[in-house]
């Protein structure tokens, strides 16, 4: 258990350092890190502190949010195909951001976009709670989430449809692909506390999710009622994923693939999968964000596009392996 934690922690630390030293500014690794820590007033310090550090911190923040909420969703629904996007929170956060771009709020206010996205996520969760109630019932929750996602998707399409000019449409489409480029420390301060609180709420689910392995009735008899688990799941996921989407856009497949990859290594125990997926998610987003800078440095490859391109075949492989195991 602790060995896996150490290995994942070391992986995250290594990728974090790599993320700090990879970029278009020509500078050695040692020189870059020295500039970051000592702050010698050179342009390199500025690059490190204002561009690369927030980018790496956001990668960790977003990865933790997606990883832990993916593991929580799968544990709660007892389904390895569940992912945080099922609740419709990321869809409604994206809708908020799109409305901000559409109305020009995003251009007028530096924090207009993420704040509008957070507002969208908040409204989405409100609707979800009103639709699914808090009395438990995972089927109602999924159906409400799917309805919410569909509504948010339709309204996003409407915004695109009615976009005032091609540039706005362009901006909307590119934002929705998800990226960590050109973010500032303000974005970190906005997202990190919300992800921390959301992640903490989700981690408290651990034992309840373990008990849920035995079914809803057995879990309830052990003192873990579905109602309370569902409230914690929805609140935690909304905070973490809402905040992550608000600063980074929609980044798919991380919440789906990471818990799937790590399940074996934690002995399939949902509580241990939570923190393992938090670290694994951070590692995956850091790695993907390094890759977008290395693979096509000139073309601004979007992070969400890369995670989907890498994640989907990986997921197909996992499905294949699962099928073979079952057969």
């Amino acid at each position: 258990m602790s060995r896996l934690a150490l290995a994942l922690g070391a992986l995250v630390a290594a990728l974090f350092l790599a993320s700090l030293v990879v970029g278009p500014a020509e500078a050695g690794a040692g020189q870059s890190l020295r500039a970051l820590v000592l702050g010698d007033g050179t342009p390199l310090t500025l690059v490190m502190r204002e561009i690369r550090l927030p980018r790496a911190l956001l990668a960790v923040t977003v990865g933790v949010a997606l990883g832990v909420s993916g593991a929580a969703m799968q544990g709660y629904l007892r389904n390895p195909l569940a992912e945080p996007g099922l609740l419709g929170v990321s869809g409604s956060a994206a809708l908020g951001a799109v409305v901000a771009i559409h109305t020009g709020l995003a251009a007028a206010q530096p924090l207009g976009l993420p704040l509008a996205a957070l507002l969208g996520a908040g409204i989405g969760v409100g609707l979800l709670a009103a639709l699914a109630g808090t009395r438990g019932g995972s089927l109602t929750l999924i159906l409400a989430g799917i309805a919410l996602s569909a509504l948010a998707g339709a309204l996003t399409s409407l915004a695109l449809n009615l976009s005032p000019n091609p540039f706005a449409a362009n901006e909307i489409v590119f934002w929705m692909m998800g990226s960590l480029a050109d973010r500032s420390m303000t974005h970190v301060w906005l997202a990190a506390p919300l992800v921390a609180v959301g992640g903490a709420v989700l981690v408290t689910l651990g034992r309840g999710l373990d008990a849920l392995t035995l079914g809803e009735d057995a879990a309830a008899a052990m003192g873990y009622g579905m109602g309370r688990l569902q409230v914690a799941l929805v609140v935690g996921t909304a905070l973490a994923v809402g905040a992550a989407t608000a600063v980074a856009g929609a980044i798919g497949f991380v919440g789906l693939v990471v818990p799937h990859l790590l399940r074996r290594l934690v002995g399939a125990q949902p509580s241990r999968l939570l923190w393992a997926s938090a670290l694994g998610g951070a590692a995956m987003v850091l790695a993907a964000d390094i890759a977008v800078r290395v693979v096509l440095p000139e073309r601004d490859l979007k992070l969400g596009v890369l995670t989907a391109i890498v994640g989907a075949p990986l997921f197909l492989h996992l499905v294949y392996r699962t099928r073979r195991d079952l057969g």
């Binding site: 007892r78 373990d210 392995t213 035995l214 079914g215 009735d217 057995a218 008899a221 052990m222 125990q269």
Partner: protein
């Protein structure tokens, strides 16, 4: 000492009376067999006693706060769910969850309880196997072991021996009897009346949502009640091997 006390318990599900005015008291040292035809309300009675469904009347167990209740009674539902491919040992260890304080991890005491439970069900050779890959009967035994590992004064088990081979059916019933011998109490619903007669200290016969009879097996399973509630005729005798009960044939509708 009583392990469970129910007074005038009634359950209405979707406007239908499933249970009406059931009063039942289970003492330590008893193995109570809950019998009755399909739909008699056996599962509903146990779930209501635990407070898992709304009911009218009194249940001392449902009145407890959930965390305390989980240390007083273990519940083994009929549906055998094992959602993730964890090892049998890990699965059985889930039974220790109610005993762990916040942030406390599994200690030597918990491991000893898990070992005892695995041992009782003969699951030691399966300890490191993925529970989801076991056969249906083996999974059922692993889930019984999980409930035993909870080491509660009361065990409520819903058809725990359905689908087990004869040796393990008898073994499970003997385990319940052994728990009772240690001063605990077991309420077990089952359809195999032959095993119920041999291994339960007391039978509670449910029919139409009411307690039709409650007492020692020989007194509960009279020909008249078998005809009325189960619509069967049976052979019942005390032999040198203990009580023998065998269903014979279905009675025609009167």
């Amino acid at each position: 000492m009583t392990a469970l006390a129910l007074r005038n318990l009634s359950v209405t599900l979707r406007g239908r009376d499933v249970l009406r005015d059931v009063s039942l008291s289970v003492a330590q040292g008893e193995v109570v067999g809950l019998i009755g035809p399909n739909g008699a309300g056996k599962t509903t009675l146990m779930r209501a006693a635990l407070g898992l469904i709304p009911f009218a009347g009194e249940s001392d167990l449902a009145a407890c706060p959930p965390s305390e209740r989980a240390r007083r009674a273990a519940w083994l539902p009929q549906a055998r769910e094992i959602a993730w491919p964890m090892t049998v040992e890990r699965l059985v260890t889930l039974g220790r969850l109610p005993h762990l304080g916040p942030g406390q991890s599994v200690g030597p005491e918990d491991r000893a309880a898990v070992d005892r439970a695995l041992d009782r069900l003969g699951l030691d050779p399966f300890r490191d196997r993925a529970a989801t890959r076991l056969s249906g009967g083996e999974q059922a035994r692993a889930l019984i072991a999980r409930a035993l590992a909870q080491e509660t004064p009361l065990l409520l088990a819903d058809e725990p021996i359905a689908g087990l081979d004869p040796a393990h059916q008898i073994g499970a019933m003997q385990t319940f009897a052994a728990l009772a011998g240690e001063g605990r109490a077991v309420v077990v619903s089952l359809h195999d009346l032959g095993l119920a007669v041999r291994h339960c200290t007391r039978l509670v016969l449910l029919g139409g949502g009411r307690v039709v009879a409650d007492g020692p097996p020989g007194e509960v399973l009279t020909p008249a009640r078998l005809a009325e509630v189960f619509r069967i005729r049976a052979f019942h005798a005390d032999s040198e091997y203990g009580p023998v009960w065998q269903a014979l044939d279905v009675l025609e509708e009167a």
